[in-house]
């Protein structure tokens, strides 16, 4: 029992541990996804920044080119409209530079480059402004000299170069981050894969552990169903048995009726005609013939008694209601009243003690005591009047033992085993008459009450019949 309980506890612990492992694996898979996602967001932000920077750098370059182109056009045509891009550029360059500044604020090298671009841009505008001033002042020589110095072109080239550097740097940075994310993604993908695989194993393990439990429960339920089926079947068989027993009982009743009517009728006819012969034709018979007739008469009488006794035996307790309170004192008194002829004839002394009240079948109990008392009165030594006592011998929990004691001829131990069998007679009919039914009948009545009937006896020492009956 405890071994089985331990096994179940161990199995439960294993299951929980596996469940924890499964949860940890699930968490790893989820974390891996989250980390990848966060890293990707960072890269995307960086990429947006790089695109913005790219766009602003392009804008700066084109603004400067526009300004230079406008300056050249003005110098050639002297038309004020050509100066429009130059003025616009003067206004817009500063915000563009500020935007770029915020876009590279996280990188100090880029900031240095931006400073250089800002410086070169300022130089470029200074150069442009100088040419315009020289032009306005009409100093053509100084102007030509300045233009031919290639200062403007050189500044422009330097700006272009630095912008390219800014661009390249930003691009390589983006590329590097992209590679980092790709590596992270590869790792987390493996992690996720391992997590999912582990989870699958965990689930499979739990399944294999739960499967037998489920199967066992299923088996228990199936067994129980089968047991219920079996019980139902047995009940049906019992019902059939009871029905068949009832049928048998009815048949027995019918048999008893037929026996009482059909067996007695021919017997009655025989005794009737014996009577007719004795009354009407006695003078035609000699003494021997008359004696034969008397033997026939006595035999038919015995046969009639035998049939009546058998019928009574067969119908113990039948057609009688169980009474919860039967006064045994009254039962014994009635039995003695029915036996008063035998008591008077044998000059017997019968003493009855205090007797209890118990549940039972009143008529059957009366017949029981009548039979036991009749026996006690019958089996006494010739010439000695019978002395019979009826008393409570023992009171146990829920049971009472009543005794009917005589001081008669008694019997041997071997005989005591036989007396409760049907048709057992210890003496021949001349000494003590009877059909050998009485005690078998008593036994049947006692069994009807779920009691016990025993005898204590020794030859010459009398017999005590003990009836043990339930009092509840």
């Amino acid at each position: 029992m405890s071994v089985a309980t331990d096994a179940i506890t161990q199995q439960g612990t294993r299951l929980f541990r596996t469940l924890y492992i499964g949860l940890i694996l699930l968490m790893i898979a989820v974390l891996a996804s989250v980390v990848t996602e966060v890293a990707t967001i960072d890269v995307r932000r960086k990429l947006d920044n790089a695109l913005q920077l790219e766009r602003d750098l392009g804008l700066l370059l084109s603004t400067l080119l526009d300004a230079e182109t406008g300056q050249r056009g003005y110098l050639l045509t002297e038309k004020d409209a050509y100066l429009e891009p130059y003025r616009l550029a003067l206004d817009s360059v500063a915000p563009i530079l500020r935007r770029i500044g915020s876009e590279v604020r996280e990188d100090s090298i880029q900031q240095l480059r931006l400073q250089r671009v800002s410086g070169l841009t300022a130089d470029k505008f200074a150069e442009l402004s100088r040419t315009l001033q020289l032009d306005a002042a009409g100093q053509r020589d100084s102007l030509t000299q300045l233009l031919e110095s290639d200062l403007g072109r050189s500044l422009m080239d330097q700006i272009r170069h630095t912008i390219d550097q800014l661009r390249q740097e930003e691009l390589s940075d983006v590329k590097m981050r992209q590679q980092q994310v790709d590596r992270l993604s590869a790792i987390t993908t493996v992690l996720r894969f391992v997590g999912v695989l582990g989870l699958a194993f965990v689930f499979y393990y739990i399944y294999t552990q739960l499967r037998p439990l489920y199967a066992r429960n299923l088996q228990i339920i199936t067994d129980r169903d089968r047991e219920i089926e079996e019980r139902k079947r047995i009940e049906e068989v019992n019902t059939e048995l009871i029905a068949s027993l009832n049928g048998k009982n009815a048949e027995l009743d019918q048999f008893a009726y037929i026996a009482s009517h059909d067996l007695r009728e021919p017997l009655r006819t025989v005794s009737n005609y014996v009577e007719v012969l004795t009354e009407d034709h006695a003078d035609q018979l000699d003494a021997e013939g008359l004696e034969y007739l008397s033997v026939i008469h006595r035999s038919t009488d015995r046969m009639r008694l035998l049939i009546d006794s058998l019928l009574q035996y067969g119908r113990v307790g039948r057609g009688e209601q169980r009474n919860p309170r039967v006064d045994l004192h009254q039962v014994v008194r009635e039995a003695l009243e029915n036996l008063h002829f035998a008591i008077e004839q044998s000059a017997a002394t019968v003493t009855v003690g205090e007797l209890p009240t118990l549940p039972g079948y009143p008529i059957a109990l009366r017949q029981l005591f009548q039979n036991l008392l009749a026996n006690a009165l019958k089996f006494h030594a010739p010439g000695t009047p019978p002395v019979v006592d009826v008393f409570v011998a023992d009171t146990d929990d829920g049971r009472v033992t009543l005794a009917v004691r005589d001081h008669g001829i008694g019997m041997t131990a071997a005989d005591q085993d036989k007396i409760f069998d049907l048709f057992t007679r210890l003496h021949n009919a001349h000494t003590y008459e009877g059909q050998g039914i009485g005690l078998a009948y008593c036994q049947k009545i006692v069994q009807l009450h779920q009691g016990q009937l025993t005898v204590l006896s020794q030859p010459g020492q009398g017999s005590t019949f003990r009836v043990t009956l339930p009092t509840v």
Binding site: S260, H261, T269
Partner: protein, 140 residues
């Protein structure tokens, strides 16, 4: 009146009828003993006028229960609804079973029955019956 007018025996047992009729004759208690073999014959007899124009009207009727054609119970079912002139003055059922049987309870259920006796009807039983139902009859 020193003896009964007519006794009717309804019984299928010839031996019983013989013994009972012989016993009534020996006791000399009736002018006439009529025997019928079953309930149907008994009813026919009771409801058919004699040559004198009167119905038989027995003083005493002994009715067996187990009979072929019509048994005692079926006979009683009809008999209890007959007019007085078709019935006997005293009706006794003859039961063959022992005390405590269902037949006894059943016999008590018929108000038309004046009593019941176990077969055979011995002299003592007959005397006791006459004594209780016909006290004015003198009998041996």
């Amino acid at each position: 009146m020193r003896k009964l007018g007519r006794i009717l025996l309804i019984d299928d047992s010839e031996a019983d009828n013989f013994i009972h009729a012989r016993r009534f004759g020996k006791m000399n208690i009736a002018e006439e003993v009529v025997v019928r073999a079953n309930g149907q014959e008994g009813l026919d007899y009771l409801t058919t006028p004699l040559p004198t124009g009167h119905y038989p009207r027995p003083d005493l009727l002994f009715l067996d229960i187990n009979m072929p054609v019509m048994d005692g119970w079926t006979f009683l079912d009809t008999y209890q609804h007959l007019a007085d002139e078709h019935r006997a003055r005293v009706t006794i059922a003859m039961l063959t079973s022992s005390v405590g049987d269902s037949d006894y309870a059943r016999a008590h259920a018929y108000a038309v029955l004046d009593g019941h006796e176990a077969k055979p009807l011995q002299k003592e039983k007959i005397r006791a019956l006459l004594g209780s139902h016909f006290p004015h009859i003198t009998h041996p």
